[in-house]
């Protein structure tokens, strides 16, 4: 059934159809609407056989999820940004213990400076945590990925993070095709844990492992991710049969057939990139797109297959690895090991900076002429940066950098776009 609905609400309704048994909540913008909706459903009796727990921190939210999951309950939580960092120790613990928790990350920048808008600093900070990380391009995909995420997590006994762009997706009203409870039940069987705390069969979970086996236990996590590379497309195919929609999977190409230039990216910005590419195609330019859905595990072979014919690859990413540049682009480089296309890293959209089609046009044309720097900061205001650098050279007590720079920018809110 098609429904005009807010992204967060759509995801919450999909989560409810997955019949979670324990839902933990701690508020942080822009995740709030998801957990508020779930709270309402539990309190109002629409979502039964579910404990909704308002905890005192994200660290507790993940810890409660760990306890619940280890006791055989299907557990769900959601967070973003500072919240994800605050729970980070437990994030690693959940995957180390092999607990199939599903968590939405409503992607948001990390401070300082504090900022509530979208980028991927939060999810990227946990990319080595052992969680699988799926990135949604649209609200429809966000909804669908959550349903697939529970299947994936529970089959592999590993947690899954479903990443959806804060505000751009979470707060956007658009039409989505809502599944029926019947469809979801047919796709997602009840959770059958591999390990469970139960007095009928006492086990010890989470004890120490020394050097004699730690590498092997950690390798097993990697092996499960490699297994996920096979399972994710299978689950997407099965999803298509049950729901009639082609969502999920590892990665998707768009107009790459004869492309000399391929743009690689993730999340909702793929929409803008595809529009730009359509316009460039209309001009006869050979450009295409590769959208990554599964960032962890990272589909190296698929990325290589999609890019091996390209003369150049432009990676547009909403994250910054300070001191080197790109994160996604480093992974793309690994996929292309031994091949020699030009690879450009474009850091864009940090802290909610709009990624405009206009800027992308200029960027991609520069790439086509191979006059792009290896590392580009899209639409960076050099004026503001240079002024601050000059200030720091001339006075020792130059003061808080962010304040200075905003004074130079002038009025604040209007500059976000």
């Amino acid at each position: 059934m098609h429904k005009q609905i807010e992204g967060s609400r759509a995801v919450a309704e999909a989560i409810a159809m997955c019949r979670p048994e324990v839902v933990c909540a701690y508020p942080i913008t822009p995740q709030t609407h998801i957990v508020e909706a779930l709270g309402e459903m539990v309190k109002g009796g629409k979502l039964t056989r579910c404990e909704f727990i308002n905890v005192e921190s994200e660290f507790a939210a993940m810890s409660v999820s760990i306890g619940a999951s280890a006791t055989g309950a299907r557990a769900y939580t959601a967070t973003a940004s500072q919240g994800l960092l605050f729970m980070s120790e437990a994030v690693y613990n959940a995957s180390g213990l092999g607990l199939p928790i599903v968590m939405t990350v409503a992607n948001r920048a990390i401070g300082a400076p504090i900022n509530i808008w979208n980028d991927y600093s939060d999810a990227m900070s946990q990319r080595d945590s052992g969680w699988m990380q799926l990135f949604a391009e649209t609200n429809q995909e966000a909804l669908d990925l959550h349903i697939q995420a529970f299947r994936l997590a529970e089959e592999l006994s590993l947690p899954v993070m479903v990443c959806m762009d804060g505000f751009i997706l979470t707060h956007a009203y658009e039409q989505v095709d809502m599944p029926t409870q019947h469809q979801v039940d047919a796709y997602l069987p009840p959770y059958e844990p591999r390990q469970v705390l139960d007095p009928r069969e006492p086990v010890s979970i989470g004890a120490m492992v020394g050097p004699e086996a730690f590498m092997e236990v950690r390798y097993l996590a990697h092996a499960r991710h490699m297994r996920a590379l096979e399972l994710i497309p299978q689950l997407a195919a099965e999803f298509k049969r049950g729901f009639g929609r082609d969502t999920g999977g590892l990665a998707h190409t768009y107009r790459t057939e004869d492309a000399e230039t391929v743009v690689v990216s993730m999340g909702s910005v793929l929409g803008t990139i595809k529009d730009t590419v359509d316009e460039m195609r209309d001009d006869g330019r050979r450009i295409g797109v590769l959208g990554i859905t599964s960032f962890r595990p990272f589909p190296l072979d698929l990325v290589r297959a999609a890019l091996h014919k390209a003369r150049r690859v432009v990676v547009v990413e909403k994250s910054l690895a300070v001191g080197i540049g790109g994160i996604l682009s480093t992974d793309v480089r690994m996929a292309l090991s031994g091949l020699h296309p030009h690879i450009y890293t474009v850091v864009a959209g940090l802290g909610g900076r709009a990624i405009a089609r206009n800027s992308l046009h200029i960027l991609f044309r520069k790439a086509e002429q191979d006059v792009l720097e290896a590392l580009t900061f899209l639409d960076l205001d050099w004026n503001v940066v240079d002024k601050q650098l000059a200030r720091e050279r001339s006075v020792r007590r130059s003061g808080p950098a962010a304040e200075n720079m905003l004074r130079d920018v002038g009025t604040i809110a209007s500059k976000i776009a």
């Binding site: 048994e21 810890s63 437990a90 069969e201 004890a207 086996a213």
Partner: protein, 333 residues
């Protein structure tokens, strides 16, 4: 067979023949069919109060729940000496997640049991003083405030033992730890405001709060049993001497714990819904030196020139506890 009322305040060995007691008053440990929840073979130091206390507490909880019990454990000595894989002392389902989240993990376990309709299975969370009064304090307070159905047991040995005896917020004034060495103007730990978590637990008005020491294991068992009669958040703060960290003789663990009670330095009481309902009386209050002297962590207070001013301040704390918790019964004519 007639039973005479037994009062558990004999000094010395504290052994009371079970045959003098009514069956229901007999110690859980004395039962042949006790659960041995923490089995022998673990790696605790000789005379470890924490190992002793945990064994009694968990066996009592196992008996009270008919062995329908799950434990969540914080990082610390108890976690480390009862494992590592593939060895485990735990004869009940047991989980270690992190240092600071035992209370929240227990909340999750309790929530899962609730949705699954397994109301007969109960949950205990446990941690050291560091895992409870410091790093796990947020999760603990959250669990209290929500009144989750969890019994939390804090094994208080007054420092971070597992990492080599560093100061925690439960370390007493003047005590030597690896981070409060007996050097400088004010040797040992500072006289701070203190952080007595049982009182903080009471401020949450949770159904049941109790303190106990390993000197009176019968009292401990009774309190665990009592705790299991309530639903909701419960807290037991157990005083457990640590021979290694305190510099005490292994055979003195019980004696030191008893002295902590008899000097008034560690008050033993119960509270229900925020109000104190009982206190284990001190028959004859002993001066704090008797407690401090046998412990190397306080050795810098004694020697050729005892620091009477510092000892007097510690004595004040003991006297205050006695007044506050009514530990010395007024003689009635």
């Amino acid at each position: 067979m007639p039973f005479q009322p037994i009062k558990f305040y004999q000094t010395g060995t504290f052994t009371v023949g079970n045959r003098l007691l009514k069956p229901e008053d007999r110690s859980v440990q004395s039962h042949r069919d006790r659960s041995n929840a923490i089995n022998s073979g673990h790696r605790a130091c000789q005379g470890c109060g924490e190992a002793l206390g945990a064994r009694y507490a968990l066996d009592a909880a196992m008996e009270a729940t008919n062995s329908q019990l799950i434990a969540a454990n914080a990082t610390g000595c108890l976690e480390v000496f009862t494992t590592p894989y593939p060895e485990t002392s735990w004869q009940l389902p047991w989980m270690h997640s992190l240092f600071g989240n035992a209370a929240a993990v227990a909340t999750g376990i309790a929530a899962a049991l609730k949705v699954k309709g397994r109301n007969e299975v109960r949950v205990v969370a446990q941690g050291g003083d560091g895992g409870t009064t410091d790093i796990g304090f947020g999760c603990l307070s959250g669990m209290f405030e929500r009144n989750d159905d969890v019994l939390y047991i804090c094994y208080d040995n007054e420092a971070y033992m597992n990492t080599g005896v560093q100061r925690s917020s439960a370390t007493p004034p003047a005590a030597r730890t690896a981070t409060t060495l007996p050097v400088g103007q004010n040797p040992g730990n500072v006289f701070g405001q203190g952080k007595f978590v049982p009182a903080i637990a009471m401020a949450h008005e949770i159904p049941y709060v109790a303190t106990a020491t390993v000197a009176d294991l019968h009292d401990l068992e009774a309190k665990v049993k009592r705790a299991m009669e309530f639903r909701g958040a419960r807290y037991i703060h157990l005083f457990v001497p640590c021979p290694l960290g305190w510099g005490t003789a292994s055979h003195d663990t019980i004696r030191i714990a008893r002295l902590a009670h008899e000097t008034g330095l560690f008050p033993i009481f119960e509270a229900e819904h925020g109000l104190q309902v009982s206190a284990l009386p001190i028959r004859r209050q002993l001066p704090v030196e008797e407690y401090l002297k046998p412990q190397k962590r306080f050795a810098h207070l004694f020697g050729a020139k005892p620091k009477w001013d510092v000892i007097a301040r510690i004595q004040e704390r003991a006297d205050r506890n006695i007044r506050k918790y009514g530990l010395v019964q007024q003689e009635t004519a």
